[in-house]
């Protein structure tokens, strides 16, 4: 035990945040968290008042993902806490380390249906990696340290700490001596390296299948070296984009439902998949039984539960990718395979020569990607614009492409960009959004205004819930049910109401100058890009279909 200064639970919280290097938090106050907001008043932590708790949660997620650290958000009890849930679920699906602190009604009132009482601890079970409810002030410090530790340990994830108001006000005289709360790390079974090496040396058509785990394991460098040294052709999941250098000649792009033709065909024909930090998600595999039907699998993961979950591994290598992957580096004789795939990559390259004057969204996003500074962080919302961004923009690190992959949560892009910009004030941050998605957290324009956060928003406006409209056209006989948004507000006028500079473009010829103006502007900017409502995202592997049976545009 060290100091004997008396602290309230609330001021202890800020001491622990300081211990973990937390400088910024996102939140929204209310009755049951007032003691914490009172302690904030004296604290060095910078708090960003978001305009909805979902915005606070997503900003914490964006902060965590852009900076590779833990994001922190605060909310009050009841509705404040329930508003965090979508953000927690998103963080769980994408393995993002955030710590959410919620106020709770006083312990004496708990369980009495008190005003603004909800069992957020119960609600958290399905949407967090772990959660705590602290009913004893003497447990608070230990729990808070554990929350940070658990968020970052092994496979990252969200942790919720629910603190009743009386515990926030209660006093402690002693702080924990050292990090005596540390939990025993799980021992992972030994890796099956020799089996994997054997599989690898016998493979003639291997593919490196790269997922979001690479960035989280801080193993981008190791994966790139492995890809370079072995010359193995590679493909990426949505969350893995940026892990492989986009200029690598053997890199084929994204696989899966909206993956490149070359990537999907290569995977289907492969005889060995080296899977690094990926989990055979259904959006990646298409029809599981027909996914890479002739391939053996070497699966690297930190999470034992991902091994053999959807596809049996012939060799499983659990644990730290950074240390484990280099053990597999070896020379491969695969030049015939490489050349075939390089040829396919050339044959099926993207085309931007779209006829007519109208703006072709892939061309805008390609222009933004070509003109943006090199360490730009791009966030997206969910829908067609998200898939176009994944297909047509190039990222040099996974922390430069933040998208809601596992949960596919509309409303992610704008608040995530705010968090990203706060964690990386010197980098450009661009939110690629859709006219449907942006309205889901539009209130966060007020956060941008208040703190003058220089986020650039590229709004791909098709006046539609485009992705759903595309499916209605393709799979529901064109019965367009509730996907029209042609009565959207005037987005330029709306931006102006928040003091955000804005411009709308409708013609191809306007793209370059508009993108340059946006990137050159010092503060926040919204570029509304009107596109044709009938554009579809291609290629598309229809649901429950093998990945080589993709539909292509006309």
């Amino acid at each position: 035990m060290t100091e004997s200064k008396t602290l309230t639970g609330s001021s202890l919280l800020f001491e622990v945040l300081k211990d973990h290097g937390v400088q910024h938090v996102f939140g929204y106050p209310g009755g049951a968290i007032m003691p914490i907001y009172d302690a904030l008043y004296d604290s060095d932590v910078k708090h960003f008042l978001c305009r909805h708790e979902q915005g606070a949660a997503f900003s914490a997620v964006g902060y965590a993902r852009a900076a590779g650290t833990v994001g922190v958000c605060f909310a009050t009890s009841g509705p404040g806490a329930t508003n965090l849930i979508t953000g927690l679920a998103d963080a769980l699906a994408d393995s993002i380390p955030i710590v959410a602190i919620t106020g709770q009604v006083p312990t004496a009132a708990m369980g009495s249906d008190a005003f603004q009482e909800i069992d957020i601890f119960g609600l958290s079970l399905a949407c967090t990696k772990h959660s705590f409810q602290v009913t004893d002030i003497n447990e608070l410090e230990k729990v808070l340290h554990q929350a940070f530790e658990i968020a970052l340990e092994g496979r990252h994830g969200p942790v919720l700490v629910d603190i009743p108001k009386d515990v926030q006000l209660a006093e402690v005289t002693q702080r924990l001596d050292k990090l005596s709360h540390l939990r025993n790390k799980v021992k992972l079974p030994l890796a099956d390296i020799s089996k994997a090496l054997d599989l690898l040396t016998h493979a003639k058509q291997p593919i490196l299948y790269v997922g979001g785990g690479v960035g989280m394991a801080n193993a981008v460098e190791e994966v790139r070296q492995f890809a370079e040294k072995t010359g193995m052709p590679s493909v990426s999941t949505l969350k893995g984009l940026g892990a492989i250098n986009p200029d690598n000649e053997n890199y084929l792009g994204m696989l899966g439902m909206h993956g490149t033709k070359a990537a999907n065909i290569a995977v289907q024909e492969s005889d060995l998949l080296v899977v690094v930090g990926a989990r055979f998600d259904d959006r990646v595999t298409g029809k599981l039984d027909e996914f890479a039907p002739n391939a053996k699998v070497i699966h690297f993961d930190i999470d034992t539960a991902e091994i053999n979950k959807r596809r049996t591994a012939d060799a499983a290598i659990l644990g730290d990718l950074k240390g484990n992957l280099p053990l597999l580096t070896t020379d491969l004789e695969i030049s015939v395979w490489q050349q075939r795939l390089q040829q396919m990559k050339t044959d099926f390259t993207w085309r931007y020569d779209h006829p007519g004057d109208n703006i072709f969204a892939p061309a805008v996003l390609k222009t933004v990607s070509d003109l943006m500074p090199s360490n730009t962080c791009v966030t997206t919302d969910v829908g067609q614009h998200q898939m176009w961004a994944a297909q047509h923009m190039a990222f040099n690190d996974p922390s430069n492409f933040l998208t809601s992959a596992g949960m596919g949560t509309m409303g992610f892009g704008l608040p995530a960009a705010i968090g990203a910009q706060i964690s990386r004030p010197h980098d450009t941050v661009i939110a690629v959004s859709g006219d449907g998605s942006i309205m889901m957290n539009i209130q966060e324009l007020a956060t941008i205004k208040r703190y003058q956060i220089p986020v650039k928003i590229v709004l791909i406006d098709n006046a539609k819930l485009g992705m759903v409209r595309q499916w209605q056209d393709l799979f529901f006989d064109g019965r367009l049910s509730e996907t029209d948004l042609s009565d959207n507000p005037d987005f330029v006028m709306l931006s102006r109401a928040f003091d955000i500079k804005s411009q709308k473009i409708t013609k191809k010829s306007e793209i370059k100058a508009a993108v340059e103006e946006m990137l050159d502007h010092d503060g926040p900017y919204l570029l509304q890009v009107k596109i044709d409502a009938a554009e579809n995202v291609w290629p598309l592997v229809p649901p429950n279909t093998a990945n080589d049976k993709m539909m292509e545009g006309v």
């Binding site: 399905a126 658990i150 034992t304 539960a305 979950k309």
Partner: protein
Amino acid sequence: MNAMTLNMYQLVIMADDKQVVLERILQVTRYRGFLINAMNAEVNTGNNVATITMTVSSERPISLLVDQINKLIDIKSVKVDNSEVQIQQYSA
């Protein structure tokens, strides 16, 4: 016709003795597609370790559930112990 084979398994789980631990196990078991046929939980054993035995059934391999329960932070160990269970297979 939908052919389905349900296998029955007995699990022995050691966990930190916390109120919420049973809820966590129940939630994961249901979500991962296992039916609980029987359950016995002995908590407050003095050494702060709870012992939970469960008989579950599913068409899915038991390793899926074992791995997911093992991932819960409060869990110390999970073992499949079929010595007491008559392995039954149902066809539906």
